[in-house]
Amino acid sequence: METELSDLTDLTLAEARDGLKAKRFSSRELTEAHLQAMARAKGLNAYIVETPDQALAMAKASDAKLAAGNAGPLEGLPIGVKDLYATNGVHTQACSRILNGFKPTYESTVTAHLWRDGAVMLGKLNMDEFAMGSSTETSCYGPAASPWLPPNWSAEKARAALAGDKRGLLTPGGSSGGSAAAVAARLCLAATATDTGGSIRQPAAVTGTAGIKPTYGRCSRWGIVAFASSLDQAGPLARTVRDCAIMLGSMAGHDPKDSTCVDRPVPNYEAAIGASIKGLTIGIPREYRLDGMNPEIEALWRRGAEWLRAAGAKVVDVSLPNTRHALPAYYIVAPAEASSNLARYDGVRYGLREPGGDIVELYENTRAKGFGAEVRRRLMIGTYVLSAGYYDAYYVRAQKIRTLIKRDFEIAFADGVDAILAPATPSPAFGIGEKGSADPVEMYLNDVFTVTVNMAGLPGLVAAAGKSSEGLPLGLQLIGRPFDEETLFSLGHAIEEAAGRAPFPEPWWG
């Protein structure tokens, strides 16, 4: 039977892989179907650069390998790449004006792993500038829109907003909002993303997709534009937990070029999908139950615990007493590291250059023009907390608190907890233009359930777990022991199964 081209974009990564192996369609057909879907979805602003020629050339090479019987694990599967990953000869800008025109002469290790395994690159995905944001609104390319319609909006109304300033449409979260929007809108089978404070997990939760931030050190950071080096980690976004497992299997692995990247074997993550979770102990951290918490999120969390209990897991209460310090400590550590990492953008070696009377003026003018408001704010906060007289009071104190946060998790795991179940976001998706315009801290509060994981270097997975009363997707978060991504994949898949796979929105956008 002929497979309709439009149907090809509805396949999961695993289904597409199996279909290619069974020769039901070619990588060329699969890739063309995605390129056509992308052409119709330009209004979502998920891709900021499309690479159709490269995609078709890669698909052709994959078809030859599939025919010859020497296909890689991702052979012929079209994916999108977050603009934070350096791609050789292809636009890489971290969605910042300061990297205008930058085309790296090298490839990030993680994307190199993906191409090695046969994946096909469709283009670069929108994101918050330098991954600083929770809504993709700080991108110099303007916000990406979620393919989910706002409650009670008609397709006509949404199309009109898409053609305008997009206000009122839902954000796909951030910073990996382009990745999440593209995956949910079926503009790629999966996407790369990064997570410094929740940038994979929050977008996954609000778009009904799946994502994992692996343990710090699991994926190489080499060739990924640095934000906060002790917190940044690469990971996948996809439509199912299984697809994330397949992606991570290729993305992970040792790299001598990143001294924090561990030299330990990459397990067969996909084998963890469907594994029994009977006898696993799941911790419910009481400190995540916040005052004034959204009752729908609280109910979802309780339902998630019941699903895991029904599947044979033991659910216990745990205490992570330093949880509430994580967000403020994060907003010291992350800007501090950013102010150091982003010192390299000075208008001399790459990107934007604004003339000045002397070298310092050149630096100052370039950075004033090149960085957006949120990045400038964080660089200034970071500079302040590292400056003479404040370093101990802010930065060293925050790093001590980080030790306390990590210790909380270590105690819970030592007590026999295999994984922790927590909410992913304080609410369903919010609207473009709705948050943070008057007070930057309002946007920061989105990260309240996710930053602890980055502060402690642990793996965190988000799986789609249902819908709000208004029909918007909600996700649940699982936090694991260091390098125990497999348990998270088993548990995440169990949640996905119990919640039932809900359809993604029909393409109202074009």
Binding site: G101, T260, H325, I359, F371, R377, A393, R397, P482
Partner: protein, 95 residues
């Protein structure tokens, strides 16, 4: 503790970001909002706690002290806004 306007200008200078006189008061409000938010940490007892220096307990890997890269001048200069004779060009630094 909140920052005053002079401090805002000093931070901007340290961060090498030009700010206008009109921008400074807005930045002051925004920076103080963030500093107020992190103020709660002052109350945390961190006596005897070591600051985190490594996220995962690992020894920094060492390698042979040999040249592993180089001879890529054209690649290094490929993205330069202004380059000449194999050098990055900047305004005069030494009179």
């Amino acid at each position: 503790m909140p920052v005053d306007l002079a401090t805002v200008r000093r931070i901007a200078r340290l961060a090498h970001i030009a700010i206008s006189d009109a921008e400074a008061p807005t930045l002051q409000v925004e920076l103080n909002a963030i500093l107020t938010f992190v103020e709660a940490l002052e109350a945390v007892d961190v006596t005897g706690v070591e600051p985190m220096t490594s996220v995962t307990p690992m020894k920094l890997p060492m390698r042979e002290d040999v040249v592993t890269d180089g001879e890529i001048e054209t690649q290094v200069l490929a993205n330069a806004p202004l380059a000449e004779d194999g050098f990055f060009v900047v305004p005069k630094v030494v009179e």
